[in-house]
Subunit: 461 residues, 2 copies
């Protein structure tokens, strides 16, 4: 019998606010970071996962993951891996830890890291990529992973099982198709705030030449700029090319409706995060007011209970699942099921640190075993920090191609982790030596967050 | 100039699961705990606040508070205290920390602790109890404390100001009335799950003899027990005495509707937490189905954005604000304003560690400066752990009487803190010596959480 021996959590931060300060209308100075978990066993193998953060607080997130150690240390690895539904429910329903949410925020993301690390380990022991490990499960096994508490008013158990049984039909063909042609990506590369109009136009053309069949622009800082940039993008890409825009929660309800109406003549493919991710009723009101413009949200959706309501209220056209925001893969399976029930496409959020590598598995399992084929499915792509991962995403002709290497995608090179440890890794020591205390652990009065024009950068999404 | 010199955070836990194991339908084994903040200055004074938790994870909550130190260390105390609206917004809008919520969970509760400690310090420097410090502010000063982002679709600035201006009229008279006769309390003492029917009846009579004009029973474990206990309580107390019941989030929507209909013939005064606190639409559906039975929730309401929606959707009859769940007093002021706008009474949640001492200030400021006189206003009371506080609540004839001692109520005796430090304080060392590792830091396989009948105890509320 092998047992779990340690939850090693490392505070890994990339100093992206240094060279890339400013990013979107809400997150001007992210230091892309990962609370990076290695779940060790007394066998030579380990499971890996991470929680993506944007700097300050990555230590708090790390402490929260560490606090879950008593749930695993000393336990039989194979028994735990054989019942990941049970382990997930045990963590989510630990009543003392639940008090810290419930089912949201730092503690839930910590549970997500542990659950995802267990899935990584299970897939590795099976010698499969995570998406295929999941695709091999029966509808009953998949359903057993899910917690339907608080969902059954909308998704009774029988209906969830029915969705998964439909997902069983033609699964082999869909796996073959996935391996053949992947899932379309869209790119946010051309669309950062602050690029010159010329650069915007050039990058848009390049994105199309690279095979991307959709792009996204950041908006939300200045309405006139937003309108002009979307107009230029539309002129460059022509009338039928999908161009989404992302407001990063910048607006209140009335402001959102006004802003979206101003952009609507240029046919945005969707409007992402028009307002607070928690505001179901605001999303519903905005969507109704701007119909037929599509509304998307989800990268900061705290739980399956929120997503249930967004769907139930008819508040969204696109659900943007995230790999590290909810309580891991198990909760994301519930979210996939809810989306399938309402026939809303899941277009996962990516970017950051390792999100592309992790979130692709969600889209793949959705494609092969839950919602099935859906031409509306796309995965966000940001070409940044992939070199730090053992199995970086593979984008071909604008499509995510499924990995065949075992695991869930979050494992980084040891040297990358060591170099970016905060605050004592060499990268941060160098910064400290060059200019005193770094910006991530001390809030300087002049940290540039009030700068009028955010600098163009790859952002948190 | 005095400056902030330290955020000392102590992990204080009371081993309540030892002598009081089991509590309610969702929280069977709480160790009532506090992430206890002392905000020190280079003057002799300090501000105090706490976040209430129920055991495991109190260390994570403490780390989150500590992570906010860079926002305060070295800053001018008087300048910060003079602009607590500004400081609150600075913390809430720290984009890197915001990522960890946004605006919910551990990081938001940490911000709440810092904000509340600042208010405690400000009230102490003024020599006033917190409720009076607030009552002395003008409508414009109160409004400046509030962040209306994401609220203005429901509560435009002008309307918020109007509510506060109405709250200005007759304020002196209401302050005098408050000092004279306080705010009614209700007690949960008779109603814990598992008491014998005889004990229930006796404690109900005692509660009335002690002057309490309302009681609350726990439900949610077994429907037949729930019905019988409420029937007995109704028989003992007669047809007009308010008897609320509390399900502690136990039910799904359909289950809640069925359970409430079964209890309705015994005229429960309100049904508290029928389901997930995040589920606005479920609360609305339940309320509509069981009308005219009142629905209450809020002790685990994560943010003003959630409360806005609960009110907007007509989902609740009673709003149960909590002192340590949201981003401190400032966010609670927004919640009081929202409730006043919808004419929904605020009946704060209390119990736990220090919640009674803190939350009374919310009810008092609501009574004198926001919603004004409201016979529906009541504050929860649990007679437990008050002896550890420097200024324990004063209950007279079933009413909370306002303190005149300076501060916000959270300050504990130094000896109480020292004795209950986890895991190295004498109380926990003694437990460790007596029976090995304590239950709070290690999840034992047989920790009793599956015991069929929870033992009667004062619970988390």
């Amino acid at each position: 019998m092998t047992t779990f021996t340690a939850l090693d959590v490392q505070d890994v931060r990339f100093p992206t606010s240094r060279d890339l300060s400013g990013s979107d209308a809400m997150n001007p100075d992210p230091d892309y970071s990962a609370a990076y978990l290695t779940l060790r066993t007394d066998a030579p193998d380990a499971g890996t996962a991470l929680v993506f953060t944007i700097g300050r607080g990555n230590d708090v997130q790390s402490a929260a993951i560490q606090a879950l150690a008593p749930h695993l240390l000393g336990r039989d690895v194979e028994a735990v891996l054989a019942d990941l539904g049970g382990l997930y429910r045990e963590l989510v329903h630990d009543s003392q830890l639940r008090w810290l949410g419930p089912e949201k925020g730092v503690m839930t993301m910590a549970i997500g890291a542990v659950v995802n690390a267990l899935w990584d380990l299970r897939a590795r022991r099976e010698g499969r990529p995570l998406w295929l490990t999941l695709a091999m499960l029966s509808p009953e096994e998949l359903l057993d992973l899910v917690d339907l508490r608080y969902l059954e008013d909308v998704l009774p158990r029988e209906e969830a099982l029915e969705i998964l049984r439909r997902g069983e039909e033609g699964k082999e063909e869909r796996i073959a198709a996935l391996r053949e042609s992947g899932v379309p990506a869209y790119t946010t590369t051309p669309g950062w705030l602050g690029y010159s109009d010329e650069k915007l136009a050039r990058l848009l053309r390049e994105a199309r030449e690279d095979g991307f069949e959709m792009v996204k622009l950041k908006v939300g800082a200045d309405p006139a700029d937003d309108e002009r940039r979307l107009r230029i993008a539309r002129e460059v890409m022509g009338p039928d090319y999908p161009i989404a825009v992302d407001a990063n929660q910048r607006w209140g309800t009335a402001e959102a409706i006004g802003a979206i109406r101003a952009l609507a003549p240029h046919d945005p493919y969707w409007i992402e995060e028009p307002t607070s991710p928690d505001d179901v009723l605001a999303h519903a009101a905005i969507r109704e007011a701007v119909s037929p413009v599509r509304i998307a949200t989800g990268e900061q959706g705290a739980s399956r209970i929120l997503f249930k309501q967004l769907l139930q209220a008819g508040a969204i056209d696109v659900l943007q699942a995230d790999a590290t925001r909810v309580a891991g893969l198990n909760e994301n399976l519930a979210i996939l099921l809810l989306a399938a029930k309402f026939d809303v496409p899941v277009c996962p959020h990516a970017g950051g640190v390792g999100l592309c590598e992790m979130v692709q598995h969600l889209a793949f399992v959705d494609a092969v075993a839950v919602a099935g084929e859906d031409p509306r499915r796309r995965i966000e792509f940001v070409d940044h920090l992939h070199e730090h991962f053992e199995v970086p995403v593979r984008i071909e002709r604008g499509r995510y191609m499924p990995p065949e290497a075992p695991g869930g995608g979050a494992r980084m090179h040891e040297t990358s982790v060591a170099e970016h440890l905060f605050p004592h890794g060499p990268v941060w020591q160098e910064i400290a030596a060059a200019d005193g205390p770094g910006p991530s652990d001390e809030r300087a009065e002049d940290d540039g967050r009030d700068a009028a024009v955010p600098v163009p950068v790859p952002a948190a999404d």
